[in-house]
Symmetry: C2
């Protein structure tokens, strides 16, 4: 047959083999093609997508973590408005408050404690004129959420006002303020934590702004005091940012004719002059002068605050 | 040759074909294997890793977002201690404070504002005895972060104290307190937001605890007042949780021998009796009685607070 002659077994097998090779080549190509362009390509796209998603998530996470940190700081700071925690680095204001037993005492201390609760980094040193710490003051201080130190020292009878005496006859609070200064010298370290010392009577009225003004006192900062010395206010007179005199009615020739409420002192100065304080042996109105000259302060060292001593931020109120 | 006899061309080609098939099968298998176990396998592993990473990041993100929300809520809540935001549901304390121009006015209002800044849901209604709103009071109120309403009404000359008059000769703050009550009737709705009304003079001293005591007044709540009426304190006498009389020195036979600082009223009662208020035409010491009898309150309606009227939480201080 002509077919048998044309298609020898050899040729048939060769054709089969070639056919097989072609089929298998196509299969290999297809397998490789499927593998690369199918699942693999999808996977590569997915990988890109996932990678983008991870970048986005990481970036979102950084933003969230940042916001959370800010919020936590804000919480910490707001907590400190009414807690015993310090804001680190912010100078502490040490308030020395002499107090004595009288009908209005609880009301006055309550009222002052409300003001202090709104000020940061306050340490209230309350010194009773008493031979023991009274229950009234102990309870009141415990109930506030303030940082405080409770001291007591009795003024000897010879220095005490009698009930009939006018209140200016003898100095008040001398030993109590000195006890406060002694406590500061023994219990603080201005190198470790800067501070300011202010003598805050319990019947005065303090604007919250006053504490901002005194916080960064270098040596001694000064400001007006309202309702004092027969005047609407007393104040240092300031020219070219320096105190050049005083607007005051009562004993204007005193070296420092200022009320106790009219100045604050850097804590370092109290440490630098360990023997300086107040005394019962000077005439009326000279306590402030005794302290400031003892600290080697001259009029030109004074740092005028409260808008160059034009704003009244503390009032010498009396109940 | 024996080889030629054993290996016929057919057989040779068959062997070649089989060999080719084996080689190609190995190649296909290898191609498929390489494809799966090489790049594709790596990609699959990476995909799994990425997917895990995304899960972890999403979970972290949920945690962070949750923490942030909590922190933000905490900030909002702490802000309410010193902001205009209400704590929803907590009854509002409306304080009506009559005030008039004098040397101590700024100090007194400053001091009272500090106390109020520490109380939640306070609305301070300050009513000046003046024909205009003064700059001093306007500025002071703006500077506090309190919720306030600033009103003014001038007391006619015939009802005003002269400078030489003793301060008890004519009633003070009558028109101002009435203006506060009128404002409440026009601007509040006790159905929508419950409230309590308290007459808080600017020179008194208030314990923070007093506001907790008055907050949930049903009709009229009462408590002692310190430093009033020639006494260390005046107080309602309580037996079996009911007010049965008064410990007071001055005019003890008045129906309600109480100081204005000694009681608070549910806002609803003020709305229920739209014509009730204070008056310049009653004798001294009868303002409280005029108001409470107008509100149809009997002695037995009074709700004793402050530990059954044994604690002094408000003092009638005078500067």
């Amino acid at each position: 047959m002509s077919l048998r002659r044309v298609l020898t077994p050899q040729k048939f097998l060769l054709i089969c083999a070639v056919f097989l090779v072609v089929i298998l080549t196509v299969l290999i190509a297809d397998a490789t093609y499927n593998c690369n362009s199918g699942e693999n390509a999808t996977n590569k796209l997915l990988l890109q997508k996932y990678s983008d998603q991870i970048q986005k998530l990481k970036s979102d996470q950084i933003t969230l973590a940042h916001k959370l940190k800010e919020a936590e700081q804000q919480i910490a700071a707001s907590g400190q408005r009414k807690s015993s925690a310090w804001i680190s680095g912010l100078p502490i204001i040490y308030l020395i408050t002499p107090t004595y037993s009288r009908l209005e005492q609880k009301a006055e201390l309550t009222r002052l404690s409300h003001t202090l609760l709104l000020v940061r980094n306050i340490h209230w040193i309350v010194v009773e004129d008493s031979d023991t710490k009274t229950d009234l003051v102990s309870r009141l201080l415990k109930q506030t959420e303030l940082n405080y130190t409770h001291l007591n020292v009795l003024t000897p009878l010879e220095f005490k006002l009698n009930t009939e005496d006018p209140n200016w006859l003898k100095p008040r609070g001398v030993l109590q303020r000195n006890a406060g200064l002694e406590w500061l010298r023994s219990n603080t370290s201005p190198q470790k934590q800067p501070g300011v010392v202010y003598f805050a009577d319990d019947d005065n009225t303090y604007s919250l702004k006053l504490f901002d003004e005194m916080r960064y006192t270098k040596k001694v900062s000064v400001w007006p005091v309202g309702l004092v010395g027969y005047l609407r206010y007393e104040r240092p007179i300031v020219e070219n940012k320096k105190v050049t005199g005083w607007f005051t009615y009562w004993k204007p020739n005193r070296p420092f004719p200022m009320d106790m409420a009219g100045f604050a002192i850097n804590l370092q100065l109290i440490h630098d002059h360990p023997d300086v304080g107040f005394t019962n042996s000077v005439q009326r109105g000279y306590q402030e002068t005794t302290l400031l000259t003892g600290l080697k302060i001259s009029q030109y060292d004074l740092e005028p605050r409260a808008n160059m001593c034009t704003e009244v931020l503390v009032w010498h109120t009396r109940t």
